[in-house]
């Protein structure tokens, strides 16, 4: 098998080229017209499905569909006028006027109706397209091929080579990867990012392989590509996220009309199981980090406990119904633009408040709960994403509290005197350094450290807290990017 064989687009011969298939009734109907053309022009007839059709004039077989594929034949019959190896004009189906114009002949098909529509070309047949894409696009895939032995189960092969996250992956065959690459207009050879810890340059093709393995559909690929770019930035510090003993992983927050177009879940159970887009986009990013970047548990990944959220943690904000906008807007993304934010976070933790009906009560209540993020005596070094459920959001919305007001209202109750927080205070060794003992009021979060998102089902007075890894110089900063298609 020569994978490096050059498949070049075949050139059309000069004159009038007609592509037909026997299975098409219109093609059968125009056979007498083809006979007329054979007498008047330099005629070349290509037959997709039967070399014996038509019986006269003789046709050239396009059995591998190379002519049809490379010349974008979508309908049969298609008539093309070619001069000096270049297509000048074409028409599809049967139309006496169009055929007479393109061939410069008169009185074509006198016994035929004026027009008759054509049929679908075999080169766009959904049952054949994946195979054709591999046949004619083969040279564009650069990755090494791994042969599956005759007696080998390809699912086991993926496990045996250590390429899974513990769950089965979809084997990335050429056909599947080629189909996945249809989901982006970016070239498969384009470099997307440099992936820690191995610091190798990952291409669109390699990300597509991971996306196939994760179970993505092609329309999810732009989201995966954008997530990989964002997660591999210096400021996000993916290497740190791997090497830390904390249970963190990349959390992907998606928003924009594209989330609805691809069927992401921003409603009931949005952080849970069941939605293909949510789960496979998050999983694909982790598979890139694992298989391409080399970030593997027991090796660079030193998490003490880890968490189920490290398999995949990706959800969509319900930004179309959000009473306070979306997270991406805080980072300069314009309305209507699809975007993702990656955040170094843990699995979600619950917040229950079923009785607060005023914004003041709910804000104070949230503050009590948030005080305990990572540890009640640790401050400033961890950011947090709050996933507010719609029933909680409504309490604020009904009182006219916007995004800034909500955060302000929570933060107003999230300061402590240094004496409560310092190491040793209240009999607990953990805490802030001695030097802060005299501070009157220390905030739990740095400015912009508490981030609001909006997602969840319509019933349930709950919100979710996604506690962050360490921020600042040695840690991670959230990164927001518009999705590039």
């Amino acid at each position: 098998m020569t994978d490096t064989e050059e498949i070049t687009a075949p050139i059309l011969p000069d004159g009038i080229v007609v592509i037909v298939k026997r299975e098409c009734e219109t093609c059968q109907t125009v056979v007498p017209v083809l006979e007329q053309l054979a007498g008047g022009v330099e005629l070349h007839v290509y037959s997709q499905d039967d070399p014996e059709f038509p019986a006269s004039p003789a046709s050239i077989p396009d059995s591998d569909l190379a002519i049809s594929w490379f010349h974008d034949i979508e309908t049969v019959p298609t008539v093309i006028r070619v001069a000096d190896g270049v297509e000048v004009e074409r028409t599809v189906g049967w139309s006496r006027d169009a055929w007479e114009s393109i061939t410069r002949l008169d009185a074509l098909g006198p016994d035929l109706p004026a027009m008759r529509p054509g049929c679908g070309s075999m080169s766009v047949d959904p049952d054949l397209v994946d195979e054709l894409r591999v046949r004619f696009g083969r040279t564009s895939l650069a990755s090494r091929r791994i042969e599956v032995a005759a007696a080998e189960d390809e699912m086991e092969l993926m496990f045996n080579r250590g390429w899974t996250d513990g769950l089965p992956v979809v084997p990335p065959t050429e056909q599947r990867v080629m189909a996945m690459l249809e989901g982006t207009s970016r070239a498969s050879t384009e470099t997307v990012a440099v992936v820690p810890p191995d610091l190798a340059e990952v291409t669109v093709e390699k990300v597509a392989i991971a996306a196939v393995m994760a179970g993505c559909r092609p329309e999810y690929l732009p989201w995966v590509l954008t997530a990989v770019e964002a997660a591999c930035t210096e400021e996000f510090n993916m290497h740190g996220l791997l090497a830390t003993t904390m249970p963190v992983g990349p959390v992907i927050v998606c928003s924009g009309p594209g989330t609805r177009a691809i069927g992401m879940n921003s409603g009931g159970n949005a952080l849970g199981q069941g939605n293909r887009a949510n789960l496979t986009i998050g999983r694909a990013l982790q598979l890139v980090v694992r298989n391409f970047g080399g970030g593997v548990p027991g090796d660079i990944d030193r998490a003490t406990h880890g968490s189920p959220a490290k398999i995949s943690f990706c959800f969509a904000e319900a930004d179309d119904t959000s009473p306070y906008g979306r997270l991406a807007a805080e980072h300069g993304i314009e309305d209507g633009v699809d975007a993702i934010t990656v955040f170094a976070g843990e699995a979600p933790q619950g917040f229950v408040d079923q009785l607060s009906r005023t914004p003041e009560s709910l804000a104070t209540s949230l503050a009590m709960r948030l005080r305990a993020v990572q540890h009640p005596k640790l401050i400033m070094m961890f950011d947090t994403v709050l996933v507010m459920g719609p029933e909680h959001a409504r309490v604020f919305a009904d009182a006219g509290w916007g995004r800034e007001r909500i955060v302000e209202g929570i933060m107003a109750h999230l300061s402590q005197p240094g004496s409560e927080l310092v190491r040793g205070a209240n009999g607990v060794a953990e805490g802030v350094p001695e030097a802060w003992a005299d501070a009157e009021s220390l905030p739990k979060f740095r400015p912009c450290g508490l981030m609001l998102t909006y997602a969840g089902g319509g019933a349930g007075l709950f919100s979710q807290i996604v506690a962050g890894w360490v921020n600042g110089e040695k840690g991670s900063a959230p990164v927001t990017r518009a999705v590039s298609y």
Partner: protein, 91 residues
């Protein structure tokens, strides 16, 4: 022959690599697998003596018949209990 595309950065070779050969057998657990040919045990007894003499610990195994590969369980047992294996193929 079907194939899948390599998801890695392709820095490592595709075939599984052998482990590095140990520089000495002293202190190592060596497995001796008798393939059940007649008097193979006599040969292996002598090998065992010599291995013990150079400081190795020896474990003995037998497979049911020379005509078939060793059963999976036996292979697994050997792999978990030993660092080095000697398989007698002589007649």
């Amino acid at each position: 022959m079907s194939s899948v595309l390599d998801p890695t950065s392709e820095r490592h070779i595709v075939e599984r690599e052998r482990l590095a050969r140990p520089s000495s057998l002293e202190g190592m657990t060596v497995g001796l697998l008798d393939i059940s040919k007649p008097r193979g045990d006599v040969f292996l007894n002598r090998i065992e003596e010599r291995l013990v003499g150079i400081g190795a610990e020896v474990k003995r195994y037998v497979k049911p018949t020379f005509a078939k590969p060793a059963p999976v369980d036996l292979r697994h047992k050997i792999a978990t209990e030993c660092q080095v294996v000697i398989e007698a193929l002589a007649d």
